[in-house]
């Protein structure tokens, strides 16, 4: 059953590194992460890789496999030809710590910039009443496993370090959309999405949707509806007039 596969893995630390070639055993049913683990156990004990659940649920083992962002644990070896060289590199958008491990602290920083769930003050725990159909819209976004592959693939920051301060990225657009669509959230989510989180930078190329391992329709169900509502608000003459009148009172 088994065969020897050719792997080319990016190795390095401290800002330096190179691709190293390996020949490694592969058995039936294995995924790329299994092969990385075999490399650790037999050839390169200090090869750094993040992983936890090995079942596509925790979003730890994001890497680029033949240039495409993938979860190592969900990429089956059977999807490659046996004589194909498989190239494994770290996520490109984030600084490399070592080998396949990158510094993803950017994402945790952005998470902290989205104001938290804000329920009305008078609803007590246990009193929430919501219909399934109303929670399902937000539930889609809460499937997110924070693999950060949408962040990694988004061209706004992938090749433009300078955009990072002003752009939260797809993961946090779905977080904002999730809160905006939460039946009990009372905070204003639309204007901050545009003004503080850089929704306007997105030009809907859907790269994020394509790489999402949870198949969340990031662009169609979160980003586009939010863009439409931001536009509605900004250019609606009544809202414009209202905002002028009430501004002074605020």
């Amino acid at each position: 059953m088994g065969y020897k596969a050719k792997f080319r893995v990016w190795r390095g630390e401290g800002g330096e590194g190179r691709l190293e070639d390996f020949t490694v055993e592969v058995n039936e049913g294995e995924v790329v992460l299994d092969v990385i683990h075999r490399l650790q156990a037999t050839q390169t004990p200090d090869l750094a890789v993040r992983w936890n659940c090995k079942a596509g649920k925790c979003g730890s083992c994001s890497m680029e496999i033949n240039g495409k962002p993938r979860l190592g644990c969900m990429t089956r070896m059977s999807t490659f030809e046996e004589d194909e060289t498989i190239t494994v590199t770290p996520l490109r958008t984030f600084p490399v710590i070592k080998d396949l491990v990158t510094d993803v602290s950017f994402n945790y920083q952005k998470a902290r910039e989205v104001p938290s769930f804000t329920p009305p003050a008078d609803v007590k725990p246990g009193e929430y009443r919501m219909q399934q159909i109303d929670v399902e819209r937000s539930q889609e976004f809460r499937k997110c496993i924070e693999c950060f592959m949408c962040q990694n693939v988004c061209h706004v920051i992938r090749d433009h370090e300078e955009n990072k301060p002003n752009f939260s990225g797809p993961r946090y657009f779905i977080r904002i959309a999730e809160l905006d669509m939460h039946p009990y959230d009372v905070a204003d989510r639309k204007e901050p999405a545009q003004d503080e989180h850089g929704l306007g930078y997105c030009n809907i190329t859907k790269c994020c949707t394509e790489v999402c391992p949870e198949h969340i329709k990031i662009t169609d169900n979160a980003i586009i509806p939010m863009k439409e509502r931001v536009v509605d608000r900004k250019y609606d003459p009544l809202v414009w007039l209202g905002s002028k009148i009430f501004k002074r009172q605020r």
Binding site: G29, R50, F117, R142, H182
Partner: protein, 630 residues
Amino acid sequence: MERHEYDVVVIGAGGAGLRAAIEARQQGKRTAIVCKSLFGKAHTVMAEGGAAAAMGNVNPNDNWMVHFRDTMRGGKFLNNWRMAELHAKEAPDRVWELEAWGALFDRTKDGKISQRNFGGHEYPRLAHVGDRTGLEMIRTLQQRVVALQQEDEKLHGDPEAYIKVFAECTITRLLKEGDAIAGAFGYWRETGDFVVFDAPAVVLATGGIGKSFVVTSNSWEYTGDGHALAMLAGANLINMEFIQFHPTGMVWPPSVRGILVTESVRGDGGVLRNSEGRRFMFDYIPDVFKDKYATTEEEADRWYDDQAGNRRPPELLPRDEVARAINSEVKAGRGSPQGGVFLDVSTRLPAAEITRRLPSMHHQFKELADVDITKEPMQVGPTCHYVMGGVEVDADTGAASVPGLFAAGEVSGGMHGSNRLGGNSLSDLLVFGRRAGAGAAAYIDGLARRPAAAAGLVEEARAEALAPLERTGGENPYEVHHELQRTMNDLVGIIRKSEEIGEALQVIEKLKERAKNTASAGSRIYNPGWHLAIDLRNMLLVSEAVAKAALLREESRGGHTRDDYPGMSPEWRRKLLRVTLTPDESGVNVEERVQPSMRSDLISLFERGELEKYLTEEELAEYDAAVKES
């Protein structure tokens, strides 16, 4: 060396750790959360089925007393009854609290939190989100921590003033002054640099020990760190012989063997069949559960629509029973082609309903095994899933015997007795995570002086951690680990016997010697070979604890099945096995302790006929007296 001062250091950022940290911070304590993985990746994300809480949203007959009884039955009456009581009473509030922090559970028609059926629970009781409840829980708690940080930023100008996450940081030693906790020592995985936390209270929330077994649903993090740290600090473990083998893990392909298949598949109508097509669970209903489970397929199938008029299907027996039954069918030659049995939901529910209720199972089988569960059955078999044993704690505060040390969640022992019911883990994390956080806060308030780590401890811890890097030409830690996993799996697994456990203990002794001589190549920067060499100490200590306790307990109960002692013994029910470290730290000792009798108002919740199956004559006499009095 990097040094931080905190009031409370929580080790572990799963459900229990985060809930404990939130509580400590809400009580005004400066709190550090230290975890081996990134924030939000802990093992809790893998929990699928739900959180058990007697809210009575689906069946109004449910209440804490029914939940308490189910929990005690599931644990075969070995549970710490005070913990089971607190858990049953407080779980609903803990679930509702999550909703106020932004969790979005699935709903009933009248807009309340929906609840699903699960093994051993008399009524639909599990609050859930499809089959990704653990993810919802970890995300909600993670976002609650962020919300508190946003509050602190407004109040103090620093989001990390009162609660800070130290991610990818591993604690290797607890520090003490005299008997009391004074802090913790660890290393940053990213850099290999060392770090000391000075803190009078430490909450262990490190989860389980599954990585000592080959076939497990647990991730690499489950190396028994908290169990070992507690023993090394002088605390006791109890119930270590009880390990839950979840009945349904994937069996194929080999690389995913052990990955969990949620019990919700059965809760939502899935059935188990052998190679002859027989629903074999009807052949395995034990005497103690005889009256509660259907004896025909017709009755079992009617139960899904009419629970008042029918008994439950035997696929929903507690996990230990189902795991043993599957094991027996496979041994008898009636297994599936890949060495498991068939779990079928495809002929039981419409395809659209399966993908709605079990989306991640559908995804997991499609992606990893090329099986469409809406069209064909899954193949499943037992997998090491959960350790019932853990740090012996005070039920109300989570305090261990060492002053300043607390534990919550899987790393603590007692709550689940000899077998945990599905769904009781997520609620356990919340109830006792909160209690441990509060316990730590109260302990600090009562302190006259903060202990300071004794001189020399930090230097010893540093030398211990560095040793594998400084050796050359030693053992490969991956090989030592693999041999330990094989040994525990084969010799101290789901079915045990005296000679095999003895053999395992001999192997463990040899592995302990080899582990002392491991060498890790490479630098200190994110070096998994080095990290594994350090973790081996914990895995070996915990494995020895499991094997020694398993050898001593000469009966079969819950997650401990002895081929040579197949019966359940009322005398043994009164005994707890307590594990402590030997004075030279080279191994563990096990001693028998008496299990305290249940409080009279709690034991009166049971019928005498049921208790007769579990209790000694002496205890039954106490029961009669208690009932008479009330």
